[in-house]
């Protein structure tokens, strides 16, 4: 079912005209309301009048994660404080989080975007949906919740952490759909199988996101739970979940181009690439008022297909993510940068900053092992001191990245010593094919 046919099936000409009009308006808005953007544009020798449509998009400077940090918390807000109604923040970052602020209209548009995604997954107002994302600063819980309510479905705001209750209520309340991370859904599937309850559920669909997943995982979910599973994409900086979602043909994730203007750039030359190229996904908020981002570098590597989809939608499709142009990892839905681990390790006396992150997926749950070299000056003949070191590292990491990592002490020089920090990671999950 198509929620908003007028928009989702727009002709390319009409869509581009709409995008151009919205881009011009947005550029004017940020130029006049956000000093940071104004200075950036002035430094590039740009005035709002230089941007006449989407063909001028590549004249605009990029916005990066660093810009968000530099302007924390509200330096990029483009609406007066009295119009801002909500704040969200990205997970797992040390120090200052990446935050996003929303006006009431932003929240409404977000809800509609999510409703479009849920519709794409066949969900209607007759469905009963459990939201198994965390509720709080993380966009997952409230984002999916508002979207499902906007659609008119009945929502069970389960949040995370109590799988038994989720399963009980799934059965008791005849739940027909679930929104959660793909790894969590597989975990739920396992518990349902163990308890012999798969026949008792009425689940028809799942909308999974917040971490990359594979076709193989989709096949598993669909076969084990007898459901249809859909991939929803989003990022806090742009809005949250619901920026894009895949339809029943699974030919990529339809991005809501009337609100999010996508482009692909070469992450090394920073030049915009022709349609269909492989590169880094860059998105511009066309309608966001609270904190619109102009040419935000997502660091996700992909390509975009623009031909009309069999489902009838004309909205372009983001193809499978091939990795990231930075070294960020998504572990149990939490964003982790190896540099955060490095910073945390440097505060532990006695360890060299030589470390290796080993990420794996065991029983459908991401695992993180941090291998740390025991420096000679720390090494003692007493096991208890070494155990204390392990615990200190664990606790510092927990504080820095918000995850419980398994700490493994290794011999000095036991790890290969690399200059580039991206080599500090071994990801065994094979999430990118």
């Amino acid at each position: 079912m198509i929620w908003n046919e007028a928009k989702e099936c727009m002709s390319r000409d009409e869509l581009e005209a709409l995008q151009s009009a919205r881009l011009v308006k947005q550029v004017n808005r940020v130029y006049h309301n956000v000093e940071y953007y104004r200075k950036k544009m002035q430094a590039a020798g740009l005035e709002p009048g230089d941007i006449k449509g989407i063909e001028d998009l590549d004249k605009l400077p990029y916005t990066t994660y660093q810009d968000l940090r530099d302007t924390y918390p509200f330096g990029l807000a483009a609406a007066p404080r009295s119009e801002l109604v909500r704040v969200h923040a990205s997970s797992g970052t040390t120090g200052k989080p990446k935050i996003a602020v929303y006006t009431r209209r932003d929240i409404d548009i977000w809800a509609e975007c999510v409703a479009r995604c849920l519709s794409m997954a066949g969900i209607t107002k007759d469905d009963i949906i459990q939201v198994g994302y965390g509720y709080g600063l993380f966009t997952g819980g409230l984002g999916a919740h508002y979207g499902a309510e906007y659609l008119g479905a009945m929502v069970l705001p389960m949040s995370t952490g109590n799988t038994q209750k989720l399963i009980d209520m799934m059965i008791d309340c005849d739940v027909t759909s679930i929104a959660c991370t793909p790894s969590y859904l597989l975990h739920v599937a396992e518990d349902l199988e163990k308890a012999g309850l798969v026949d008792k559920i009425k689940l028809k669909s799942a909308i999974c996101g917040a971490e990359p997943w594979t076709d193989e995982m989709r096949d598993q979910m669909e076969a084990r739970l007898h459901i249809k599973a859909f991939d929803i994409y989003g990022l806090t900086e742009m809005m949250g979940p619901g920026v894009a979602c895949d339809c029943e043909y699974h030919k990529g994730l339809h991005i809501w181009e009337d609100h999010f203007l996508p482009e692909i750039i070469d992450p090394s030359t920073l030049k915009q690439l022709p349609k269909g190229s492989d590169g880094e996904l860059v998105i511009t908020n066309l309608t966001k008022e609270g904190m619109p981002l102009i040419r935000y570098r997502t660091k996700d590597l992909t390509s975009i297909e623009y031909d009309k989809c069999e489902c009838g939608r004309t909205m372009a499709r983001i193809q499978r993510f091939r990795g990231r142009s930075d070294d960020m990892l998504i572990i149990r839905g939490v964003n982790v940068f190896p540099s955060q681990v490095e910073a945390a390790l440097l505060t532990v006396e006695g360890t060299t900053p030589h470390y290796m992150l080993v990420v794996d997926r065991v029983d459908n749950t991401d695992t993180l092992e941090v291998q740390v070299e025991v420096a000679e000056n720390f090494f003692t003949d007493e096991i208890k001191s070494l155990e204390k070191l392990s615990k200190t590292v664990h606790d510092k990491l927990k504080m820095a990245i918000g995850l419980n990592a398994k700490v493994k002490l290794v011999e000095p020089n036991g790890l290969e010593h690399f200059d580039g920090k991206s080599k500090h990671v071994t990801d065994k999950r094979k999430l990118y094919q």
Binding site: V374, A375, E376, F379, T380, D381, E382, I383, K384, L386, E387, K408, L409, V410, E411, P412, N413, G414
Partner: protein
């Protein structure tokens, strides 16, 4: 009077102990006594040798984390309750024992190595009770 103990950090992987012992053998180190304290993932190998400094250097050159610590080598008299008596004296003095292990050194009694958080005081107490302790010169 203490003896110098060499300790080495070892990852708990197959063949690692074999490797470290071979390296020491190749370096001509005569190991008088060995004890391995192990956890799930790593272990600390504690050794006594007549040439602790040389042994440490060989290990260091081979990339191991090694160190030398003083431990008290106590010749526990061959009688029921002797070990309990030694430990009891140390405990009564409010000194914490970090670890104890048996030494395979020939001679009378049952030699053990004791590491405490105050070796000097512990050794004085032991000697005052007429229990013999060994020094490096006693290592054969």
């Amino acid at each position: 009077m203490f003896v110098k103990q060499i300790s080495v950090f070892l990852e708990n992987t197959e063949g690692r102990l074999d490797e470290v012992l071979k390296i020491l053998a190749q370096g001509g180190i005569d190991i008088l006594s060995a004890s391995l304290a192990d956890t799930m993932e790593y272990g600390v190998l504690r050794l006594l040798s007549k040439e602790p400094d040389k042994a440490k250097q060989i290990l260091k050159d081979a990339g191991f984390a090694a160190r030398i610590d003083d431990v008290i080598a106590v010749v526990v008299p061959d009688a029921v309750g002797s070990l309990a008596k030694v430990v009891g004296m140390i405990h009564a003095a409010g000194i914490n024992i970090s670890y104890i292990y048996g030494l395979s050194i020939d001679g009378e009694g049952a030699p053990i190595a004791i590491k405490t958080d105050d070796n000097a005081k512990a050794e004085a107490i032991i000697k005052a009770a007429d229990v013999k302790t060994l020094g490096m010169e006693d290592l054969q």
